[in-house]
C-alpha cells in the first residue's frame, strides 16, 4: 500500500509510530424527544441532576489531581474553571427552570447550557474558548445522566496512536503516556489544550490536520511526526525507519563524553519541581537552569523561606536518588529573575521601568526586592548543607557590572554570617553568573575570577546583542543565536571564562538543538542545559563528536561574517 501524508501542525518535537485508535466519543447531545411535560416528575429529575452534578464534581476533582501530578499546576487549572462553571448559579437556575417546565434532566441540561455557549461563541479570543469548556462540562453531565459509557482512553494497548476530531481537557487528562505513541487531531492549534499537555507528556502530536484525517481508519499503521507536522498513514520503509530511529533515541542514563573522551555535562532546564522526575527519566545529568519564578507567579504573596527550601531540596533529592554515578548531581538554581517579560502580579512591576532594558533580574534583587533575594539565599544556603544538596549551585541573572556581582556575593556572605550566628546549618554552594548581556560578555574574564562558573543564556543574549526584542514577531530574523555577532560573543565568553578558571555552560534554546551540539563542543562549552525532551538526542550526538573536528568547525564558522555563511558551514 502506498503511503499517504496528511499535513497539520506539529505540536511536539518528537516522532512516534503506532496503530490507530479513533476516539469518537458517543454524541451524548443527540437526545430522544422529551416525554409530555405533565408526565415528568420534576422532583425526581431535580434529584437526578443533583446526583449527576455531584458525580461530575468528583470526576473533575480526580482529573485535576491526576493532571497536577502528571503535568503541572498550570495545566490542572482548567479543571478549577470547569468546577466553577459546573456549579454556576446561572446554570443551576437554568436547569431548575427547565425541570419546572416539565423537561427531564438531560433535556434541561441541554437547554441551560445553550444560551451561555452561544454567547461565548460570539465573543473573541480567549472567551471563545470558554464555549469549548462549557460544551465539555455539558457533555460530561449528559454522559452521566444518560448512563453512557465513557470511552476509556486510559487503557489503550501499548503502541496506540489516538486520532480524534478534538481532544478536550477531560479527554487529555486520561491519556497514558506509557502506552500512547502519538496523537493527531483534525481541529486545534499549537496552543490547544491537547497540544500543550502532549508536549508536557512528551507524546508526539500533530494538530489541525483537517477533515482529511477521517480517511485514516482504525488499525492503520501511522507515523505521527510532530517535528515536521505530518501524519503518515501506511508509511513506507524509510518513514518507518525514521520514526523508529527517533523513538529509539534511547535514554542514556550515564554521563557522556565525546568520541575522543572529553566529558560534556548534559543537564535539564526546569520551571517547576514537578519537571525534575521526567528530566531524570530522560537522562539529565543534573539541572543547568532551575527557574525560581514559578514560586512567585502562583499565589498572591511571595513564598517564604521554608517554601523555597522545600522546593529546592525536592529537586536536589529527585536527582540525588535518580541519577547514576558517584558524583553529586549539579543543580544550578537561578535567583529570582523577574521583570522583562516575566511579570509578577503582586510585585507591581511597571512594563517600562521593569522592561527588557529596565530594572529586572539581579537589579531588582539588589534594590527594591532585596528582602526576596535574602530569603531565597537563606533557603539555598540551607539546602547546600544537606546531603542531597551537595551539588547545589546558585546563579545570578542579568549581571552587567562587576559592582553588581560583588554586591550579590556580599549578600551571600552576609546571609552565611547570619545563619552562622543563628546556629543554622548552611553551606556555600558553587556560585555563578548568567551571561546574557553584551556587557557581561566583555566582563566574562572579571566575572570568572570571582565565581565558579558562567552560563550563557542565549535567548536574552541574542536579544541584547542583536538589539531585537524577544517577543516582537517582526524581529524574528534578528533572533537567531547563530548570528555571527552572537557566536563571537559566545566564543569570547567561553575563552575568558576558562582563562579565569571557571567552567562555562549554556542554558538557552540553542543548547538543546542536536544539530548544533558539535559546534557548541567546538566552541569549548563544558555543559549544555536544555528542556528535557531533547536530552537523549543531544547525549547521543555528544558521543559521536570528535573534539578536533568540532574545533575546526567552530573556527570556520567564526571566520565568516553573515548568518547565511554560518548556515552553509553547518
Amino acid at each position: 500500500m502506498t503511503e499517504r501524508r496528511f499535513e497539520g501542525i506539529g505540536a511536539t518535537p518528537t516522532v512516534g509510530i503506532g496503530t490507530v485508535t479513533w476516539y469518537r466519543p458517543t454524541d451524548v447531545t443527540d437526545l430522544d424527544e422529551p416525554p409530555a411535560p405533565d408526565s415528568v416528575d420534576a422532583e425526581a429529575e431535580r434529584e437526578r441532576f443533583d446526583a449527576a452534578q455531584a458525580d461530575a464534581e468528583a470526576e473533575l476533582e480526580a482529573e485535576r489531581e491526576q493532571t497536577r501530578e502528571r503535568v503541572g499546576d498550570d495545566e490542572a487549572a482548567v479543571f478549577d474553571a470547569h468546577l466553577q462553571f459546573l456549579k454556576d448559579p446561572q446554570i443551576e437556575a437554568g436547569v431548575d427552570e427547565a425541570v419546572d417546565e416539565g423537561r427531564p434532566a438531560p433535556h434541561a441540561v441541554m437547554q441551560a447550557f445553550e444560551g451561555p455557549i452561544e454567547q461565548f461563541e460570539g465573543m473573541e479570543g480567549m472567551m471563545a474558548e470558554r464555549a469549548d469548556d462549557l460544551r465539555d462540562i455539558r457533555d460530561r453531565l449528559l454522559r452521566l445522566l444518560t448512563g453512557t459509557e465513557r470511552t476509556d482512553l486510559g487503557s489503550l494497548p501499548e503502541g496506540s496512536v489516538v486520532l480524534a476530531e478534538l481532544l478536550t481537557p477531560s479527554d487529555t487528562a486520561q491519556l497514558d503516556p506509557d502506552s500512547i505513541t502519538g496523537i493527531a487531531t483534525a481541529e486545534g492549534g499549537r496552543t490547544a489544550h491537547a497540544a500543550i499537555i502532549a508536549r508536557s507528556l512528551g507524546i508526539p502530536a500533530v494538530v489541525g490536520v483537517g477533515d482529511g484525517l477521517n480517511e485514516i481508519v482504525d488499525g492503520t499503521e501511522v507515523v505521527v511526526d510532530g517535528e515536521e507536522g505530518v501524519v503518515i498513514a501506511d508509511p513506507d520503509e524509510a518513514a518507518q525507519q525514521r520514526a523508529e530511529e527517533s523513538t529509539q533515541t534511547s535514554v542514556v542514563e550515564e554521563a557522556v563524553e565525546t568520541a575522543d573522551g572529553r566529558e560534556i555535562e548534559v543537564a535539564a532546564n526546569l520551571g517547576t519541581p514537578a519537571e525534575a522526575e521526567p528530566a531524570v527519566d530522560r537522562g539529565a545529568d543534573g539541572v543547568g537552569l532551575f527557574r525560581t519564578e514559578f514560586l512567585f507567579q502562583d499565589g498572591s504573596a511571595a513564598p517564604d523561606e521554608d517554601e523555597q527550601y522545600d522546593a529546592f531540596l525536592s529537586v536536589c533529592e529527585t536527582f540525588a536518588d535518580g541519577v547514576a554515578g558517584d558524583e553529586d548531581p549539579r543543580i544550578v538554581v537561578r535567583t529570582l529573575d523577574i521583570g522583562g517579560d516575566k511579570p509578577i502580579d503582586y510585585l507591581d512591576l511597571d512594563p517600562e521601568e521593569n522592561g527588557f532594558l529596565g530594572a529586572r533580574g539581579i537589579r531588582l534583587s539588589l534594590e527594591e526586592h532585596a528582602d526576596l533575594f535574602e530569603s531565597q539565599l537563606r533557603a539555598l544556603l540551607r539546602v547546600a548543607a544537606t546531603d542531597a544538596g551537595a551539588g547545589l549551585a546558585v546563579m545570578f541573572p542579568l549581571v552587567s557590572t562587576v559592582e553588581e556581582l560583588e554586591a550579590a556575593l556580599d549578600r551571600v556572605d552576609s546571609v552565611a554570617a547570619d545563619l552562622d550566628s543563628e546556629g543554622v546549618d548552611y553551606g556555600v554552594p558553587e556560585l555563578g553568573v548568567m551571561i546574557e548581556t553584551p556587557a557581561s560578555t566583555y566582563l566574562a574574564d572579571a566575572f570568572a575570577e570571582r565565581v565558579d562558573f558562567l552560563s550563557i543564556g542565549t535567548n536574552d543574549l541574542t536579544q541584547y546583542i542583536q538589539s531585537a526584542q524577544r517577543d516582537l514577531d517582526r524581529m524574528t530574523d534578528y533572533q537567531d543565536p547563530l548570528a555571527p555577532a552572537v557566536l563571537r560573543a559566545v566564543d569570547r565568553t567561553v575563552e575568558a571564562g576558562h582563562d579565569g578558571g571557571a567552567w562555562v555552560g549554556m542554558c538557552g534554546e540553542m543548547a538543546g538543538d542536536p544539530d548544533l551540539t558539535e559546534l557548541l563542543i567546538g566552541l569549548g562549552l563544558d555543559e549544555l542545559s536544555m528542556s528535557a525532551v531533547t536530552i537523549p538526542d543531544v547525549k547521543s550526538r555528544v558521543r559521536e563528536v570528535d573534539t578536533d573536528d568540532a574545533e575546526a568547525l567552530a573556527e570556520s564558522v567564526l571566520a565568516v561574517d553573515t548568518l547565511a555563511e554560518v548556515r552553509d558551514h553547518l
Binding site: 462553571f85 448559579p89 446561572q90 451561555p116 454567547q119 465573543m123 498572591s300 502580579d345 507591581d348
Partner: protein, 96 residues
C-alpha cells in the same frame, strides 16, 4: 439600591478581577445583579462567573449594580471597591 460605575481593571470583568468580584458578591446576604450599561445583554447575577464573564465588560466600560437584601449597601461598597482597583493592586485589598 443601585449604583453605576466605571470599571478600572484593564481586563474588565475577566480572569482574576471577575473571580474576585464573583466570590465577593457571594459572600454577602444580598441579591446583586450586574449589567453592562452600553450592552444589550440583560442583567446577570453577580455571583455567577458564567454570567459575569459573559457580559464581555472591558476596562473603561460602565456597569450598573443593583442590590437587594440586608447587606445590600455593604455588598455594593465592596464590589465598587473591586471594580475601582487596578488588577495589580487587588491583592493589597482587604476583602470581606
Amino acid at each position: 439600591m443601585e449604583r453605576t460605575l466605571t470599571v478600572v481593571p484593564d481586563d474588565g470583568l475577566h480572569a482574576r478581577p471577575a473571580a474576585t468580584f464573583v466570590e465577593t458578591a457571594g459572600s454577602f446576604d444580598a441579591e446583586v445583579t450586574v449589567k453592562a450599561v452600553d450592552g444589550n445583554r440583560p442583567a446577570v447575577s453577580a455571583d455567577s462567573m458564567l454570567g459575569v464573564t459573559g457580559l464581555g465588560v472591558r476596562g473603561g466600560d460602565d456597569v450598573r449594580l443593583v442590590a437587594e437584601g440586608p447587606d445590600a449597601e455593604a455588598a455594593l461598597d465592596a464590589l465598587e471597591a473591586i471594580l475601582s482597583t487596578p488588577e495589580d493592586e487587588l491583592d493589597d485589598m482587604e476583602l470581606p
